[in-house]
């Protein structure tokens, strides 16, 4: 009888072992290797130094041109060109560029490229997103990516885990984003350093796949190696709907050892905003002064999914965004963009004076499509609010849910959805 966490079981299986323990260094087979237009060029250069011509499996590599694409300048265009040429030469199946690309961590699940029980490594820190689907997925660097493309393997230090036992149900206008910002506020930006964050409990049945993807996405902001959700019917229905390969379901042993267990009642979570310049600076509206803003961004690998756009549209519908707030809405994939169009969401946004963009990571990392000037403030549904993250080193980013971001766009300052929906008074 073993006493492994869910993560440890996936790692053991992929390393060909019956048991692993925290701290052990292992070599594991990977099911998917991911890179983007910033990290892949470095990986391709490193791949050239490895004594092989071939990638380990052309079906198990995904290169997604999303950060500076559509190409923002000549140098960005050169980087995408290098990726395109490499993909052609190695016959990589999953190469996505402007036109069919989306933000990588929204795109891979939507394309059915990840399933429960997989190991995914990606040269992008938010690769931890796929833990929502019961996969072990984690961010690595470009050299790791190069070696994984060549060998199909990666080295890992087996992590210990923190357990989050979720119960209850989220209140109106509260989403997975508020839950994860609360958790990061509670444990800090290095609170899960080198560890897994394992989410389980009866409350899972009240969290949609989009809530879970958003929460797993931000595990890295607590320093975690991965965030992972127990697989349930919601997971299985989603995987089936996107045509993912057959899931392999792992669950933690009954006597699995956790460094710590937190019990969280989802019903107790309030709308939350992370203040500059760390995601751990989480504050609720009972503890907030008026913050006048210049920009709102609704999108990213954290919150650019269809349900996020629906939530924002519900608040924005029939109103105009404040005159001095540039509101930028970025559907995370082409499929989401099309669905938002067919549902009439884009019309709601455009009539409210929002800019709606083709998919890109763009402003989240201060790349393009919405850079902040000195002294400007943005409310963003993105994942990081570090110094200079969205532009000028003296600009500020406040992280929030799509509901809070939409309300703030209307109010011209950081606002609770109730403030603009005239409820809860």
């Amino acid at each position: 009888m073993t006493s492994m966490t869910m993560t440890q079981k996936i790692l053991a299986t992929h390393a060909g072992m019956t048991k692993v323990t925290a701290g052990q260094l292992i070599l594991a087979n990977v099911d998917m290797v991911l890179g983007n237009d910033i990290t892949s060029p470095v990986a391709i250069n490193e791949f050239g130094k490895i004594k092989t011509d071939k990638v380990f499996d052309k079906e198990k590599i995904a290169l997604v041109m999303d950060h500076f694409a559509p190409n923002k300048d000549i140098q960005a265009a050169q980087q995408c060109k290098l990726c395109r040429e490499f993909s052609n030469e190695k016959e990589i199946t999953n190469f996505y560029d402007t036109g069919d690309m989306g933000i990588e961590h929204a795109l891979l699940p939507e394309k059915g490229l990840v399933t429960s029980g997989d190991i995914v490594v990606g040269a992008d820190s938010h690769t931890c997103t796929y833990g929502a689907l019961g996969a072990f997925s984690t961010g690595v660097g470009s050299t790791d990516m190069a070696c994984a493309m060549a060998t199909g393997k990666a080295w890992f230090k087996v992590p210990s885990a923190i357990c989050f036992n979720l119960t209850g149900k989220l209140n109106e206008y509260v989403s997975g984003k508020d839950v994860i910002l609360n958790i990061i506020g509670m444990i800090g930006v290095s609170g899960a350093l080198y560890k897994s964050m394992e989410f389980k409990g009866s409350g899972l049945s009240n969290l949609t796949i989009d809530d879970r993807l958003c929460m797993a996405n931000m595990a890295i902001e607590a320093g975690a190696k991965n965030g992972i959700f127990e697989v349930d019917n919601i997971t299985l229905e989603y995987l089936s709907s996107v045509g993912a390969k057959k899931p392999v379901i792992f669950s933690a042993d009954k006597n699995a050892v956790y460094d710590k267990t937190y019990d969280i009642d989802l019903g107790s979570i309030k709308s939350t905003v992370a203040f500059p310049h760390l995601p751990e600076n989480a504050r609720t509206f009972d503890n907030m002064e008026d913050i006048i803003i210049d920009q709102v961004v609704i999108g990213s690998c954290t919150n650019g999914r269809l349900s996020d756009l629906i939530a924002a549209a519900e608040i924005i519908k029939g109103k105009k965004v404040a005159k001095n707030v540039r509101t930028i809405i970025i559907p995370a994939t082409q499929k989401i963009y099309l669905q938002a169009m067919e549902m009439g969401l884009l019309k709601i946004f455009i009539e409210a004076n929002c800019a709606v963009s083709t998919p890109t990571c763009g402003p989240c990392l201060g790349g393009h499509m919405g850079i902040l000037a000195k002294g400007e403030r943005a409310v963003a549904t993105t994942n990081r609010n570090f110094v200079g993250r969205m532009g000028h080193p003296e600009s500020e980013v406040y992280l929030a849910s799509p509901q809070v971001a939409a309300a703030s766009a209307i109010a011209g300052k950081i606002a609770h959805p109730y403030d603009v929906m005239k409820k809860g008074e």
């Binding site: 260094l25 070599l27 910033i38 990290t39 060029p41 470095v42 250069n45 490193e46 130094k49 490895i50 004594k51 950060h67 500076f68 923002k72 300048d73 140098q75 960005a76 980087q79 990606g122 040269a123 992008d124 820190s125 690769t127 961010g139 690595v140 660097g141 470009s142 050299t143 790791d144 190069a146 070696c147 060549a150 060998t151 393997k153 080295w155 230090k157 930006v189 290095s190 350093l193 080198y194 320093g223 190696k225 760390l278 990392l365 201060g366 790349g367 990081r384 570090f386 110094v387 200079g388 993250r389 080193p393």
Partner: protein
């Protein structure tokens, strides 16, 4: 192997966005990356760093994105070693993989001051602070990681068959 140099000190949670801002990630040129290293938190860094200098920081060094451009920028700026209380995990593995020496030491991170002359001897497992006449013990790397470092990085380790079954 040992390195010796003057210390440039930083605080806690130094993230990869300040080590190398994303606006410079449209290139993979190492010298260009180095020329913007740390500029969003310390504009003087690139002008005052000398080859062999040692960076000492607090906890969670290198948190944030997976960009390998961050350890590359630090290495190419001339920094010979980074000491911190602990490192964000992707930065940690990137440094090992590209051959940027790093050491986790709470004691050294707390006691070493900006401008101190220090020496790290990896064989003897000790950091010597020549300015303060102090020594701090270095925890040895696990075998597997030591082999990657000895090979000269992950690419060389792969070429030597270390990642084969």
């Amino acid at each position: 192997m040992s390195v010796r140099g003057k210390v440039i000190k930083f605080g806690n949670n130094v993230d990869t966005d300040v080590i190398i801002p994303a606006r410079y990630l449209n290139t993979t040129d190492k010298l260009t990356l180095a020329s913007h290293c740390m500029e969003d938190i310390d504009k003087t860094f690139v002008n005052r760093v000398n080859k062999g200098d040692i960076m000492v920081a607090g906890n969670n060094f290198g948190c944030g994105s997976s960009r390998e451009h961050a350890p590359i920028a630090i290495k190419e700026s001339g920094i010979s070693l980074v000491i911190a209380k602990d490192f964000a995990r992707i930065f940690y593995r990137n440094s090992i993989n590209i051959g940027l020496p790093i050491i986790e030491s709470v004691e050294a991170s707390e006691q070493i001051n900006e401008g101190d002359e220090i020496e790290a001897d990896f064989e003897k497992g000790v950091i010597i602070n020549h300015t303060q006449n102090k020594e701090y013990v270095i925890e040895p790397f696990p075998d597997f990681i030591r082999k990657i470092i000895q090979a000269g990085g992950l690419i060389e380790a792969v070429n030597k068959g270390m990642l084969a079954d």
